[in-house]
Each structure stands twice: as structure tokens, then as C-alpha cells.
């Protein structure tokens, strides 16, 4: 096998992954469509039902308007055709293009999930590394117990308990929402206002992942510390920080990054619950509302976007993986 340069390897890999990505997206689109359409319930009925009055003409109009009167195969074909053109369709209920709906909700969800993800990764790995380096001490035990408890806590319940303590009892933090509306704030004040609203949702969402990453990092550090190259480095006379930062952390991070990438999807799932608890105006709530109302195009659009986001995150994780773990590069080609 020709040994390629690092960059070329990564480039090739990225290309083949992108090709895979497109195939997978179409597959997911089909899967989504079949799954969502397997559901009982006629969207026209729902829309009519919500009007508080209904008659055959209304149902017929609605079915025609949204192409529900056509055979499934035709609906699927036209759906896939639109997916290729990146047209996510039109919402039954909201009477707006799905892309608009998803895009206007996406920032709030990204803010929530990305902040939670970064915090969990940063704090989790730091705590985990500290615990790992201090393995066997009281500090280690405390961290371990704490992460075990967090790992067993239902996300939504944690959110509720935070509301109970910090909003209901202490009155320190706003219990819901994204920002205080209808007050004129400077950009900085507004950012602070949003940040204040963000604290509890992010904490609830991050907690479980923080626990996972901390545990992973801890055992990873312990494992790496026992490996030969660290012993070699120590034998060479390298000590203290240079070993910890130069070798151990970099190597110990590999499994954490892998898991973190794999959990991007789960994080988004958690956002659905958290957005419900905190009335956070993001994609998670949109998903749940759309589901209850059988708003197929919105559901299909969200699933597709989420799937793409997750695949892209996985791809990025792969790339980071290659970058932090040089041993992997040759093997991959």
C-alpha cells in the first residue's frame, strides 16, 4: 500500500465519506417517509379537527392541497425529488415552508446543544482527567460517585429540580423561555439575558454527558498512564506537565471524542425533553408539536436535518480522531 501523506489521507477519506453521506441521506429520507407514513391518522382530519368544525369539502380541499390524495409511491418520489433539490416541503399546519420553520428554530437548539456539548466535554474531561491522575484518592471517589449519580438522573427531572430550587424557591433564574421579550436591551445586555435563561437548560442537558465523559476520561487516563510509551517517556526523563499534556491527554482524549461524536444524536434527543421543560423555542419542541399534530413535512424535514447534522458530526469526529491519534492514519488508508 502506498503510504500517503496525512493530509491526502484525510482528504480522500473525507471524499469517500461525503459520497457515503449522500447515499445515507437518501436512505434516511426513504426510511423516514415510510416510518412516518406508517402512522395511523390522517393529517387532513387533524387540520379539520382543529378548526372546531369540519365537513367533507374541507377534508377534500386539504387532501388535495397537500397531495395526500395521490398514491404513496408518487408521494415518496416527489418527496425524494424535492430532497435532492434541498426543498424540504411545506407544512400542513403552519402553512409555511418547512425549511423556514426548521431554520428559525435551529439557532436556539444549536445554542442549547452546542453549549451543553462543549461544557460537558470541557468540564467532563477536566474532572475525569483530574480524577484519573488522582486515582484512588478521596477526590477520585467523590468525582466517581458524583458522575454515577448524574448518570442515573433523568434529564427532565433534573431540569424540574433546578426550576424548583433556583426559580421557585430562590427566584434567581428565569424558569422558562429564551429571553425577556419586549424590553429594550443593548446587545451585551441581551446576550447576558439569554445567557441567564440558558443556564438551567444547559446544566440539565449537559449533566448526563458530563458524567459520561468524566468517567471515560478517568479510565482512559488510567489506561494510558500504564502504557509503554508513557513509561518510555518517563524513562527518558520527561516529567510532570509535559507528560500529562503532551502525551497522556492527547491519547486519553481519543475514546472520549469517539463517544462524544456517537452521542451527538442522543444529545439532540435530550434537547426535545429539555426544550419541553424550559419552554425553549427550538427544534425539539417543534419536533414534539409536529408529531402530535402529524405534521408530516415538518417531521420529515427535522429528521432529515437532524440526521445530516449527526452524520456531519460523526464525520468531524473521524477527522479529529485522525488528527489527535497519529497511529490511526496509515491504517485507515
Amino acid at each position: 500500500m502506498i503510504r500517503l501523506g496525512n493530509a491526502a489521507t484525510i482528504g480522500l477519506m473525507a471524499l469517500s465519506r461525503i459520497a457515503q453521506l449522500i447515499a445515507v441521506i437518501l436512505l434516511i429520507a426513504t426510511f423516514n417517509f415510510v416510518l412516518v407514513r406508517a402512522a395511523p391518522g390522517d393529517p387532513a382530519q387533524v387540520m379539520a379537527g382543529q378548526s372546531g368544525a369540519s365537513d367533507p369539502k374541507l377534508l377534500e380541499d386539504l387532501r388535495k392541497e397537500y397531495g395526500l390524495d395521490k398514491p404513496y409511491v408518487v408521494q415518496l418520489a416527489s418527496y425524494l425529488g424535492r430532497v435532492v433539490k434541498l426543498d424540504l416541503g411545506y407544512s400542513y399546519r403552519q402553512r409555511r415552508p418547512v425549511a423556514d420553520l426548521v431554520l428559525e428554530r435551529l439557532p436556539a437548539t444549536l445554542l442549547l446543544t452546542v453549549t451543553a456539548f462543549c461544557l460537558a466535554l470541557l468540564i467532563g474531561t477536566t474532572l475525569g482527567a483530574l480524577a484519573g491522575l488522582a486515582a484512588g484518592t478521596v477526590l477520585d471517589t467523590v468525582f466517581t460517585v458524583l458522575s454515577l449519580v448524574l448518570y442515573a438522573t433523568p434529564v427532565f427531572w433534573l431540569g424540574l429540580m433546578l426550576v424548583l430550587v433556583f426559580s421557585v424557591t430562590l427566584g434567581w433564574l428565569p424558569p422558562f423561555g429564551y429571553e425577556t421579550i419586549n424590553v429594550k436591551l443593548s446587545p451585551i445586555e441581551r446576550a447576558l439575558d439569554v445567557a441567564k435563561h440558558l443556564i438551567m437548560p444547559v446544566t440539565s442537558l449537559a449533566a448526563i454527558y458530563l458524567a459520561i465523559y468524566a468517567r471515560l476520561m478517568r479510565s482512559s487516563i488510567i489506561e494510558v498512564a500504564q502504557q509503554d510509551f508513557i513509561k518510555t517517556a518517563r524513562a527518558k526523563g520527561l516529567t510532570g506537565p509535559s507528560i500529562v499534556f503532551g502525551h497522556m491527554l492527547r491519547n486519553a482524549l481519543v475514546p472520549v471524542v469517539t463517544v462524544a461524536g456517537m452521542q451527538a444524536g442522543a444529545l439532540v434527543g435530550g434537547a426535545v425533553v429539555i426544550e419541553t421543560v424550559f419552554a425553549w423555542p427550538g427544534l425539539g419542541r417543534l419536533t414534539f408539536d409536529a408529531l402530535l399534530q402529524r405534521d408530516y413535512p415538518v417531521l420529515l424535514g427535522i429528521f432529515l436535518i437532524l440526521s445530516i447534522v449527526v452524520i456531519v458530526l460523526n464525520l468531524l469526529t473521524d477527522l479529529i480522531y485522525k488528527l489527535i491519534d497519529p497511529r490511526m492514519t496509515t491504517g485507515a488508508a
Binding site: 433523568p154 429528521f303 449527526v310
Partner: protein, 277 residues
Amino acid sequence: MDAVRSFLRHPSGMVGLVVLLIVVIVAIVAPVAFPVSPWEMVSAPFTPPGEDGLLLGGDTLGRDVAAGVAYGARVSLVIGIASAMAAMVIGVTIGAISGYFGGKVDLVLMRMTELFQTIPAFVLAILLVATFNPSLLTIILTIGAVSWPPLARLTRAEFLRLRNREFVEAALCQGEGTLRIVLGHILPNAISPILVVTSLTVATAILLESALSFMGLGDPNLMSWGFMIGAGRTVIRNAWWMSVFPGLAILITVLAINLFGEGLSDVLNPRVSRRRS
């Protein structure tokens, strides 16, 4: 029986086991301890804990929260165990086929597994339960259907590891059938890590069920912890006890299962255990 003995010496594993046993006992004696249905309205709405003979207080309709927590243990354990079993059956089947046959079959099955992992498990679970209407059976099958991928990957890895071992080849030489080899030789050797991960899947299944019930997608005929928290969410200002106690019940149960599972893992297969945790 070395395993049993070393488990008995495993402190956190034992803590987990004991707590878990307590939860199981509560689940079993619930109908005796609380002969009146947990749905029965026995007091004034929002009775605080300790008043009116209600240890953990009353809910919106004046139902006994303590009875609910006790009956909820049954629901959580049944759903947790049954759906972990479902996940194990699906995961082991797919992982075994994939790992044993390898090649194109492996490629296709693993792509499918990836596909399932791509869609966020909870969102998929919401979709499935809503699609087929929430009931005990649909919830179990749904949680099974979204929880199998890690088990499939694990089983596949174990099968890949064991497939070329001497005892498998010996069996092949003796002309034993594929099914016999898989069930009789490979699976028994792969079973302990699978059991460990399955036991941990029980914990995530309980969490998943509680989240579904919390969102109003539980079986409306079952008094479950997630349902109770969901019912208590909007009244958290009036009645904190409605959401605090069932939540603690989930936390304690899940924690106990995790401790037990990890203890099991340490004892049964230190190799996998170190890699996973």
C-alpha cells in the same frame, strides 16, 4: 462459583444489588402495602406529605403518591427488563449474523445499525410510540427497537474475536451445523459481556420509559414514575412532592442497576470492563 464469591466482595456492586433487591421487594409487596389502587382518589387534592395518612402526600386528584411510587416500581422494572430483553434479542441476532458471516452481510447489517444510530434514539422512540399508540407492549418493543445497536456491535465484535478460535474450527471439522456452532460454541463464550451490557440497558430503558411517560407517551393505564413526574411538572409550585419522590425513585433504581451491572462486569470480564468504563 468463584464469580459469585468475588461479586460478594465487590462493594459498589453489592450496594447496587441490595438497593435493587429493595426496589424489587417494594414492587412485589405494592398490592399488599397499598391495597387501594394508586389511581383511587383517597384524599383532598394536593395533600402535603405526612398529612391525612399519606406518607408522600397526595396528587392533583388526591391520589396517594406513595402508592404510585410503589406501583411505579413494578412498571419500571417490567418495562426495563422486558425492553432490555427485546433489545438483546434483536442486537444479538443481528450482531451474531454480522460477526459470524462477515463480508457483504456484515457490511449491510452494520450500515443498517449505523442508520439506526444516526436518528436520535429518543426522537425515534417518540415517533414509534406515537405511531403505534402507547401501550405496555408498544413501549417495550419501541425501547427494544432503539436500544439494540450497542448490543449488536458488541456481539459482532465478540463473534469476530471468537470465530477463528480452535474450538470453533474443531466444531466445523466435525461437521456441526451453523446454528449449533453459533448457539452451542460461540454464544456461550460471548455471553458474559452481553449480559453485562444488557443489564446496563435495563437502566437506560427505565430512563427512556420515564422520559416517554413524562412527555405523555406512556401507557395511560399504568401508574409509572415518569407519568407521575409529568403530572407533577405543571404543579411544581403547588406540590413539589408530586415530582420529587418519583424522580428520586428513578434515580435510585437506575443507580442501583448501574452499580450492579458494573460490579457484574468487573467480576465476569475484567477485560471488557476496563475497555468500556
